[in-house]
Symmetry: C2
Subunit: 339 residues, 2 copies
């Protein structure tokens, strides 16, 4: 070492108190001159922690971990000194899952976030995989509840319920639902929420007015037509994504159906475009950046648990892992200016 020793240098870098001011100054100067940067790699080796978190995505069109949500996660991780190792998977066969887990283990990831989304049987390996054998904790986002698996996510049942209640509060009584794909956990829960609100309101006859969509705009038009076949005087439709709601609005326009006059339409997602649909779309926002951050903090707490360490600042208290959508009422249901 250029001046003193070596473990002294280490002490200075790590801000240990056991150093004379004079020595510290000398070392710091050398560090400055040499442009020295501690090697995270070596540090990780000795510490037995990689300061890296694995993020497993289920690659699908418009998946959740895009955009805002992902940015939130990166930010949160970055702020706590963690890097993220992304893995894109579309096939969740046992072999793929094992390969993924192998990679996570080899890279010595400190924890894993199964970001999802859960599609069909994609997450079923969680049922019989011995998660407790994994050298690191795992947290799933928006997944179906399973014994032994910690999940952070939105309460989609409540979302469906509240969306429907909103339509009910506007005196709608023939409320249909255009759902997302039925093999998606979130879709199912929203359907169940819608059904439960119908029960609450004593409108069991509406339960038949349910059509499955694809999440995408293209399924909106056909979806609305199918719903109208099921119930010609439908007066409201709760659509499970803003993109499909766009399709619904356009089809309504084509059919000469006034929104919200004859038909109230609402979506879920709060896409940036939704406020500029014609009419502006009532929707429910999921604060996905929030969710990503909550998931990350939860994971970090579990990591600390394993190492018997206290939670770092920012992860201080345990927080709820069940998040809530927020209603954004716009003209497609409340019809302020439009008719």
């Amino acid at each position: 070492m250029a001046g003193v020793s070596k473990q002294t240098a280490s002490r200075v870098v790590n801000g240990s108190a056991q150093v004379t001011d004079e020595t510290r100054a000398r070392v710091l100067q050398c560090i400055e001159v040499l442009g020295f940067r501690p090697s995270t790699l070596a540090r990780q080796l000795t510490a037995g922690r990689s300061l890296t978190l694995g993020v497993v995505n289920n690659t699908a069109v418009g998946h959740l971990m895009c955009g805002d949500a992902y940015v939130g996660m990166v930010r949160q991780a970055d702020g706590m000194g963690y890097a993220l190792l992304n893995k894109e998977m579309s096939d969740f066969s046992r072999a793929s899952v094992d390969a993924m887990l192998d990679q996570m283990i080899e890279r010595q990831v400190d924890g894993i976030i199964l970001a999802g989304p859960e599609i069909g049987h994609s997450h079923d390996w969680l049922d019989d995989y011995p998660l407790d054998t994994l050298p690191m904790p795992l947290i799933a986002i928006n997944a179906r509840p399973r014994a032994g698996v910690e999940v952070v996510g939105f309460d989609n049942f409540l979302a469906g319920q509240n969306a429907t209640r909103h339509l009910l509060s506007l005196q709608r009584r023939r409320i249909g639902h255009l759902s997302g794909p039925r093999n998606r956990w979130v879709s199912q829960r929203r359907v169940e929420g819608w059904l439960s609100a119908l029960d609450e309101a004593g409108l069991p006859e509406c339960k038949a007015y349910c059509v499955e969509g694809s999440w995408e705009a293209e399924s909106g038009g056909p979806g609305l037509r199918r719903l109208l076949e099921l119930c010609p005087d439908l007066d409201a439709v709760f659509v499970s994504s803003d993109r499909m709601a766009l399709g619904v609005l356009m089809e309504a326009q084509r059919l000469g159906i006034k929104v919200p006059g004859q038909l109230a339409v609402m979506g879920i997602d709060n896409d940036t475009q939704s406020a500029f649909f014609d009419p502006p779309l009532t929707t429910m926002t999921q604060d996905t950046p929030d969710m990503a951050e909550v998931a990350l903090r939860q994971l970090i707490r579990r990591i600390c648990d394993r190492h018997d360490e206290p939670y770092p600042p920012g992860c201080a208290p345990e927080e709820s892992s069940m998040l809530t959508h927020r209603l954004i009422a716009r003209e497609s249901t409340v019809g302020a200016t439009a008719a």
Copy 2:
């Protein structure tokens, strides 16, 4: 070691030929039994390479590195054994840039992708930063050309030119342009391409019909109104994003302007929704997953260059770093069924 030695084990793991079949078998068995996984960390330490690439995003609404593009990048990296370290930045002050670079150095990243987008002066630090001092190569995506900086990206000039040529080929003669924010390099190039196609066609009077938008749907309506003030009998508008084009279409409908009969409208981006606008939107697609992959391969080539290594399979020949948009003609300009 459970059986033989240690560097022998290393040889087996790395598939060196210098081992008896018998010994190899024995070692492999032990590996199996113990569930042994080589530590990438330690390997990285000795190799002096982290097998990690830094990705710097300029955090902005709807930025390029979302969705498809990012998935393409992760896939490509994953396939070559590289992990990605993401960094989200919104402030590109000298201090932030230095902090980012410090982090990249400390994590011993093997190369950096400046994913952009370039907004205003965000990338100006490249002008005077001594890039050659960096211990790793850097590649910028869709950035303004700069001496000493390697860039991979789309030819937005050509995109503007070809979009305009498409409209010209449909006998449009009063072609306006709704651009993205002027402080964005891609916007500027598209404007220039549009201008150049107008020159080609001998329509200099159109050059005045240019309005600046925000990229978002909300600027489409006002944009169209401004353009109509500039040229009441406008017969075509080249819009620099599909989202703004949605705004334009809706405003046209509101104003009773027939698309494409009276006004041909085209966008850029090929958003999933665009095919379901009313009418379906002609647009230009950027194959961003492609771009991300090209950028990644380019970076890996540069890394190999520094280490005097041959390019790995898949990165074999040098490839062009200037990509081209592809026109997708739909009814908003060619008006197959609509009128």
